[in-house]
Amino acid sequence: MILTSANLVFIVTLTIMPFLLIGVIKKIKACFQNRVGPPVFQSLYNLVKLFNKDEILSKDCSWIFRSGPLISFSGMLLLCLSVPWLPLQPPVPGCDIFLFVYVLALIRFFSIISSIDAGSPFSSFAASREATLSFLAEPAFVLALVALGISAHSSDLALIFGQPIENNRIPLSVWFFSGLALFLSGIVELSRMPIDDPSTHLELTMVHEAMVIENSGPNLALVEWSYALKLLLFFGLIAQCFVYSLSKIIALPPLLLPLSVLVVMLALGCLTAMIESFSVKLSWGKNPDFIAYAVSMSLLSSLAAFAMNGGS
């Protein structure tokens, strides 16, 4: 990895953007609640504080519990470095769709077993919920990426995302439906409303927060950080999908592209905040219905990919 100016931009984005996104979501939610809300970089402050605290372990947890956050953080960092951002190619090249999906699955596996290892009843059943939800949402997520891969005739992420507009042969409908499918499954993966309410404090309804209920200090900081990176990763991919579909309708000058990706990411943050302010958390039994929408979108996307493949 060579430190070029492009890579520098990449690293700065990677450091600041996740916290900015979380901050923006919280700030907009606060606006809808007629209040000031936490500072935009509150999650960064939390992180600094958590690294300054001691770690406390329950007596019956093993190395799995401690390694879970580390694995998920390093995995997430690796993914963020190997996914292309619209004008930039990744510093770590050669990331395949399936590698991407499997690293995500690995992260999930470790976070699930580490929260089972924690030994608290809440973290265990939250882990089981997480497993159920991601099991349901994964097809949508994979299928959406595969549809993009089919259209691009490649499974290399760098050949799908981050391509200059003129090289991009993926049709509008595939981009759009894949973007929607990724967004809907992203809501599930990121445990946001209406699947899971990140601001609730009810042990029996939480999913993500209950999973990390036993983590403390630096361990918790790593969990929070890798969550922020995951948010960035998903929003980045979704934003690229939407920017590409936009570029099919109106001609965007190449210089504006990176900017528009950032803008779309913030807009996605706004949308998430809106949903979190006004929608109702689904009853547990209705979650599959919601995920069905994500699956439908990715089905449509792959249909479009198949249909258009012959035509173009």
């Binding site: 939610k29 029996l204 929608s279 547990w284």
Partner: protein, 491 residues
């Protein structure tokens, strides 16, 4: 009101109680004891607006249990066991209600210490119900909860995501209020009565004042009666708004819940204008109220008007949201038959077709009568609807009371001595339902026994039954829709 005292033989007590409860106009108020040598059964006759006490003397430490025939008696029997060490013979499952793990061995706080040492031993059964079967697991929650909630321990036996059984253990807030109420001088009683549950401070203070006033033969000035009713309705408004906001927060509607808590700030301001305290504390005293709010009434009306308008908008968008309706519909159903059997009161009662409202029956005739509505679905949605309806009623009543506030004194001098050897009750419709304070005096006119029956006492069983067969993740919604008090129950 002073209650009629009738002696009742132990053998005829149970049939008489069953007979009494046959009639829809009759209610069981509470069952307790004065000093551990008798049972006091307080009965309410809604038709003739009377309270009646059956006093059953019995020898020894045990009596025949009612629970199997009169299910609503079981909390009272459990409390009697904790506080007096009285053993109900034939109780199906006697577990502690007020004194839990922290109290072991022989300890009955309302009995004099001398009686403890007679070598009697009663073991507290602290086990939980064992729900068997493959795949059934237990989720213990509490006593310390993740949010800002009072402590209580819930043990949920689940099958997958379904709740099979809920066992509630309370008593973590047992502060010894009933004992303390008999220890302090009469002038300080009201502060401890308020501390029973401060979200119900006004209702508790009114009930306490009513009981003391009837024992002292005081007639409260009309203006004080109206101001008390005003305080009560403000409290109801405040807590219903709070509960709706909590419900919205549990459902995840951040904006609506924040709007409710913003508006609750205005309701608090109403309370402050009236009494100086956000929780209407130190305002109601035996004989009247503590201060005259005439100076602030204009400001009061100015706050009330926009509050009503904004509240309507927020409530409408909450209760007409299709997703909210869908989410609450059919969650936590409590059938009317159960509600009647367990003597549910208040919002939870009215959502399950128990139309009883103390304000209709026992309140002073000069006060405007509230509109009552009841539903029969008994689910979280109907409880929410009842709450919404009662917010409207409270606002109406506040406006009516303001418009027709009589003039005159706000208090009469507080009593020094009470009528000896009698029992008086104060009954108030607190925002959770029927709240009873019962005072019994000794032969010198001092308070011998002060019993408090919070509305939650009747309703906790309702919650335990209503959550059965619901999703585990819906438990907070059920719990919030009942909106019960822990401190009022634990005393």
């Amino acid at each position: 009101m002073i209650s009629i005292i009738e002696p009742k033989d132990e053998m005829e007590l149970l049939p008489a109680l069953k007979q009494w409860l046959q009639n829809d106009e009759h209610r069981l108020g509470l069952i307790t004891s004065l000093d551990g040598k008798q049972l006091v059964t307080l009965l309410l006759d809604l038709a003739s607006r009377q309270a009646k006490c059956w006093i059953t003397e019995f020898a020894g430490d045990s009596y025949r249990s009612f629970t199997s025939s009169v299910p609503q008696a079981h909390w009272f029997e459990r409390a009697l066991f904790d506080m007096y060490g009285l053993l109900p013979k034939g109780h199906p499952r006697l577990k502690p209600a007020l004194l839990n793990e922290a109290y072991s061995g022989i300890f009955a706080p309302l009995r004099s210490l001398a009686e403890h040492d007679e070598g009697k031993s009663y073991e507290r059964d602290l086990s939980y119900m064992d729900v068997g079967g493959e795949g059934v697991y237990e989720v213990p929650v509490g006593p310390v909860h993740a949010g800002i909630i009072e402590p209580g321990h819930f043990r949920l036996s689940c099958m997958g995501e379904r709740i099979l059984n809920l066992e509630i253990r309370l008593g973590f807030l047992h502060r010894g209020v009933e004992k303390r109420l008999t220890e302090v001088p009469l002038t300080k009683t009201r502060f401890i009565a308020e501390a029973v549950a401060s979200d119900t401070a006004a209702a508790n203070a009114i009930a306490s004042a009513q009981a003391i006033e009837s024992l002292a033969g005081l007639v409260v000035p009309e203006k004080a009666v109206c101001l008390r009713a005003l305080a009560l309705e403000i409290e109801r408004l405040s807590m219903h708004v709070c509960d709706l906001g909590g419900m919205a927060a549990d459902l995840g509607c951040g904006a609506i819940s924040a709007a409710f808590s913003r508006l609750r700030g205005s309701v608090f301001r109403l309370g402050e204008l009236l009494s100086g305290s956000r929780f209407l504390r130190a305002y109601i005293l035996p004989g009247g109220v503590a201060r005259d709010a005439d100076r602030y009434l204009a400001e009061f009306a100015r706050t009330l008007k926009p509050l009503r308008k904004e509240l309507n908008v927020v409530i409408d968008s909450f209760i007409s949201d299709a997703m909210v309706l869908e989410r609450l519909d059919g969650v936590g159903v409590l059938s009317p038959a159960f509600a009647k059997e367990f003597g549910l009161v208040g919002v939870a009662g009215r959502a399950s077709a128990v139309s009883y409202d103390v304000r209709k029956v026992f309140q002073n005739k000069i006060l405007p009568e509230p509109r009552i509505r009841f539903e029969s679905a008994g689910d979280a949605l109907s409880r929410t609807k009842i709450r919404v309806f009662e917010i409207g009623t409270s606002l109406d009543l506040i406006e009516q009371l303001l418009a027709s506030l009589p003039s005159g004194p706000i208090a009469v001098a507080a009593p020094e001595l009470l009528v000896p050897d009698s029992i008086a009750v104060g009954i108030v419709e607190a925002f959770r339902g029927e709240l009873i304070h019962m005072i019994s005096t000794d032969n010198k006119g001092r308070i011998k026994r002060y019993a408090v029956k919070d509305p939650s006492l009747n309703n906790w069983t309702g919650l335990a039954i209503a959550v059965r067969n619901n999703f585990l993740a819906d438990f907070p919604v059920c719990n919030k829709s009942f909106g019960l008090s822990y401190s009022g129950h634990d005393l």
